[in-house]
Symmetry: C2
């Protein structure tokens, strides 16, 4: 067991009861986040199955991975047994009664669905897992708090490099060379590794025009006076993601980027204000308030030059998960969201500021604190 990081299977039991179904089954590999949530198993890149039936959670351990499954899965590990390897869906089918009614997530592999159906079971699609994942337990919030803190260590490293960098003519120099987004990314990712983060994943760093390309992971020379946008979203060893963005300029001359940065700060504050009564706030209201503030500063609230994306998304064992912030539905206590307004202009650059917040009964809590300064000045 992963130090108290188990999973509440009650919503699955309730979904089974509500639809008069016998079992829940999912099949996938270590890259399937529903399966990661259900099992806490960091398993291999080949398929295994999770089965929930008669109030019992079962995992078909892939051969050579039984010990790891025992260590990580809070339920009962079903060993592979001897003989040739069976497909995971066949092993799952053996754990069901005959002709069961089975709930499955929409992204169950098609071949697994066919195998379950051929074994005589009837399948019904359910979104109970993604819905359940949207509201975090205390143990999950602890993990998110930890990974967000470690994410900020990467930001601190980047800001320190940018503060140390010097300008010579048209060049930004650091450690004797022209500084590039790739050089900066390696420093950030090394800081992540030192903190114990396992997947640096997409460390997005844009410089000037490439900031408007929202997920730039290429190599670009950093020039004096242009925006350097860092969007850091590494994954911790338990599978939870951090997500934090800041924008800096080496030798800002003010002007566009300063105006954009103020607009984005105010937009983030407006989003926080919209969240101040916490649970019950309509998700899209948070977006609307932030977009209006961006509009008030003379940028477009719906496109370029201005705010080209949504205010945020849920974060958990997926980087992007429920709730949707485009939805009019009420946010619930325990949801963890990014609040990330931005302003982009592909001629000039882009500014984004992003923090992670926990929705509470009466308000919200920002997970981790990191100052918002356009000028790199490590504290």
């Amino acid at each position: 067991m992963n130090g108290g990081l188990d999973t509440d299977y009650e919503p699955i039991a309730a979904a089974l009861a509500a639809r008069d179904a016998d079992a829940f089954v999912h099949v996938g590999d270590r890259f399937d986040d529903d399966l990661r949530y259900l099992t806490r198993f960091s398993g291999p890149d080949r398929q295994y199955a999770f089965v929930y039936r008669e109030d019992e959670a079962l995992l078909t351990a892939p051969s050579l991975f039984a010990e790891q499954a025992e260590r990580e899965f809070p339920g009962t590990v079903v060993p592979a047994g001897d003989g040739p390897r069976k497909p995971a869906a066949e092993r799952a089918a053996l754990l069901l009664g005959s002709e069961s009614l089975v709930l499955v997530p929409p992204h169950l592999p098609h071949e697994s669905a066919v195998r379950l159906e051929r074994a005589g079971h009837e399948l019904l699609s359910t979104t109970v897992v993604s819905e359940t994942r949207a509201v975090k337990s205390e143990a999950e919030i602890d993990r998110l708090r930890w990974v967000q803190g470690a994410t900020m260590e990467g930001m601190r490293r980047a800001e320190a490099v940018l503060a140390e960098a010097t300008v010579s003519g048209e060049s930004v120099l650091w450690a004797g060379e022209r500084l590039t987004t790739e050089r900066l990314r390696r420093e950030v990712n090394a800081a992540f590794a030192s903190e114990g983060l396992t997947d640096a994943g997409n460390t997005v760093i844009g410089a000037g025009p490439s900031c408007a390309d929202l997920h730039f992971t290429g190599d670009a020379v950093i020039e004096p006076g242009e925006t350097v946008l860092l969007d850091l979203s590494p994954r911790g060893p338990d599978g939870y993601y951090g997500d934090c963005s800041r924008t800096f300029v080496v030798e800002s001359e003010g002007g566009w980027e300063r105006r954009a940065h103020v607009a984005v700060e105010r937009a983030q504050d407006a989003a926080f204000d919209a969240l101040s009564s916490g649970a019950g706030t309509a998700a899209n209201e948070v977006h609307r308030e932030a977009a209006a503030e961006i509009g008030a500063y003379g940028f477009s609230p719906t496109g370029e030059p201005g705010f080209t994306h949504g205010i945020g998304h849920g974060v958990g064992v997926s980087l992007h998960e429920a709730p949707s912030m485009r939805s009019p539905e009420a946010l619930e206590a325990g949801m963890v969201l990014t609040i990330e307004p931005g302003v982009y202009d592909r001629e000039r650059g882009g500014v984004r500021i992003e923090d992670l917040v926990l929705v509470t009964e009466g308000g919200y809590e920002v997970l981790g604190e990191y100052h918002r300064s356009l000028v790199p000045r490590p504290e």
Copy 2:
């Protein structure tokens, strides 16, 4: 386009012709390795679709990711258009003629299959993508060579730490503290980040008994005289994995671990010998020769204490992919395999040595060179 890293769609065209089918479709997200191979798109964690029809490769760009798709995908990017988001399978269906016969991989999401069928298309399962992936192009081999070189920089860092470590009584000390597998992992992962590797993923490091747990990623104190097994498999920015294992002992007193290390070295040599005529060698012959050598040294060739797993696996955009080394089928030129014999005894520890080899017409080539020494002694 990713610097010449395109994908040969000829095998898909041939599969369509052979089965008189109209199109190939796959739907998935950035964690689907078939899709990564087909598109080279490092896209988001929500679904997008690849369609191949009439000799044309198409990618439905997720909204906000069109620029990244244009940069990475060698075919034609189909923009999302305005209006509410459509499921990727629906967008794919619109790119097909009416009532097409469509080839799909077995792990197509079940919901996507249902959507395609509801749109009037008939689906047939194909394994053409995983089969094609087993044989690498020159551009892919370049990527694998690069990532394996970077992987060895992580090993060099680990070996340097172990060589610097000192023994005091029953403790191994480094940088003023007792050395643990987690501390060593952070050093390795930081070295990976500095090399430009993006996903450290599972950096497996066992110490003593935890070496027998083949994928140990937990924290264990490293004791003098016990085996420290490192299995390093990071991913490069183009999606290709490296894979290298070595085993060291701080202050070995000889005995079990030295005998095991010699057996494993000889087993790896026997596997290399079995590969010396290159393409045409039966995959399972390579395993058999290595296992026999381990048996000749007095360890079990099929279990504990001895060789508890297979000789290796294919490596590419998945860490584990075709070919299977349990199969009697002939290896082909361009396949890239791990050769990783090991000996384990859960009372004493474990030894594994692993390199990546390219099968050629007349032999094989080891990708990257790293010495095999039980005693840490950086070169």
